[in-house]
Amino acid sequence: MVDTAFVLLVILGAFLGLVVGTLPGLSVTMATAILVSLTYTWPMEHAIALIMGVYVVGVFSGAVSAVLINIPGAPSSVATVLDGYPLALKGKASLALHTATIYSFIGTVVGFLALWLFAKPISAIAVRFSVLDYLLLGVLGLLSATAVGNGDRAKGLISAVLGLVLSCVGIDGIFGTQRLTFDANFLKGGISTVAALIGLFGLSEVLWQLITPQKKATVVESDSGKIPLKEILSHFKLGISSSIIGTVVGALPGAGGPVAALIAYSRAKSSSKNVKTPFGEGALEGVVASESANNACVGGALIPMLTLGIPGDAVTTVVLSVFILHGVRPGPFMIKENPELFSAIIVGGFIAAVAVLVLGLLLNKPLSGLLKINRTSLLPAITLLCIVGAYSVQNSVYDIWLMIAFGAVGFMMKRHRYPVAPLVLGLVLGQMCDLNLRRTITIWSAQGGFLGLVLQRPVTIILFILIIASVYFILKKPKKVGD
């Protein structure tokens, strides 16, 4: 399974992740969405290797611009800015970047260890799930994606429901009748998830960059000081606890790196009593908490995706589509039926963690040069990759149209502050929710009682309680985590 090509592809992905993560405006989701379409002819392990490299290193490298130009390269580095940049202004950019590197490595390792340890037991429980449990799981995934997000939660729910509506387009899974196709041939095959992903995360981002003036950021040069390992590792305990927070938050569908990093940051702020420098003014603890949590989130987000078929964040939604494109449906049976794929993800994650450490420590100084690239010069090439990427999955020009349409939709959603991730989650989970809703109703009418269907299964009761908790969080007034 792990051959030279596999290792080399993780490293290649790591370099790509370093570029997209470092440059503000280019996102890991965008890069992985394009890569899915380009690698679908490859053996699945190789596609996974490349994407793991981009994912893990891309999340880490958001810290580079956060520290050197005060702009997070990736959304998950939003909390790193708070102390990373003040550290750089004090001439300690190198210390901040080395700390970010080491704790991103630790966070990644903790996240993937959790995935390795917990995925199999969770799968073992999930194989006993009933159709009602799967329906509840789908609903829970969509609700929690909305519950943890900032802003108007009704908009998040609208976005999720629109995703579910789009998933209905095509041939119905039970009767084979057409739904929402309006007799158009091109709609009979349904909405291509990959084309939608590339449009929503790739082209929409390009359109957004077109109207967003590029800030002239002053790049703080990274000093080439020695690595003060003793000082960095003195925060090891905080790194581990933040990594655990990151893993748990990552496992919540829709939460993702930014939420994990902000929660870990605010926890570090409230629990650290004797800090040398106050938080917000260059506390190393802030960088430790943020960076270990956001990278731990990667492994955490893969847990529900691999065991239940519910993606933990936008990138894992893309990873899910890699599996589907290769004819593998993630879920309770996946690990048992395809152990080699599970191993590929774990090994790929650990190799990518090492790549974070090596690239972060060795390329500390040259990385500041990367920030001087004018990102507008990359936009035409990214647009071309979006178009060719959408086309290449099915060699279909229709997918290009679809991708452009989703690009425009994604742009409008962003403009009107509708989150895009719930829409994608709805599109992915729609079929599961639809089929299991109708199967549940069939069983319910055959057995003659809904309450009996719920009360005889503890798992169902737990899922109901979790759904009620999610609804409570959605109705509760959102609170800014960083405050």
Partner: protein, 135 residues
């Protein structure tokens, strides 16, 4: 800063249309519980309810030039898709990239041309050789 209304009526309209569509399919169905229209009906009702729950919130109005830029950009992309597969890939892509580069802010004709030719050839060779995708 001018405020423009957010498009909640869009969600409500989609919801209402879905309900109508579902009722049209459900008409004459005996077992509504497993009907393909049931899920659409549920979603339609959910959309209508949710469109009333969202709090009014405006967005900053962007200058008209920004929208023009987006419109021209999408127009060029649509034209590219229209000719995709009918015209030689490298030639079509070079023209496309040249125009897109101009829209994104690169004004020098020579630079744009060099950039477009290099990227077109690179993508052509990378896709054909590394990814095995015929363009």
């Amino acid at each position: 800063m001018k405020k423009i209304p957010k498009p909640l009526p869009v969600a409500a309209s989609i919801g209402a249309l879905l309900i109508l569509y579902s009722c049209f399919i459900l008409k004459g169905e005996e077992s509504w519980g497993i009907s393909p229209a049931l899920f659409c009906l549920v979603l339609g009702v959910a959309l209508v309810i949710l469109s009333f729950l969202s709090k009014p919130e405006g967005v900053t109005k962007a200058p008209i030039e920004s929208y023009k830029k987006i419109g021209v950009f999408i127009g060029v992309a649509v034209l590219y898709a229209l000719f995709f597969g009918r015209v030689n890939f490298v030639l079509l892509t070079t023209v496309f990239l040249f125009l897109i580069s101009y829209i994104t802010g690169k004004k020098s004709v020579t630079d744009n041309l060099i950039y477009s030719v290099i990227v077109s050839f690179s993508v052509y060779f990378i896709f054909n050789i590394a990814f095995g995708i015929g363009l």
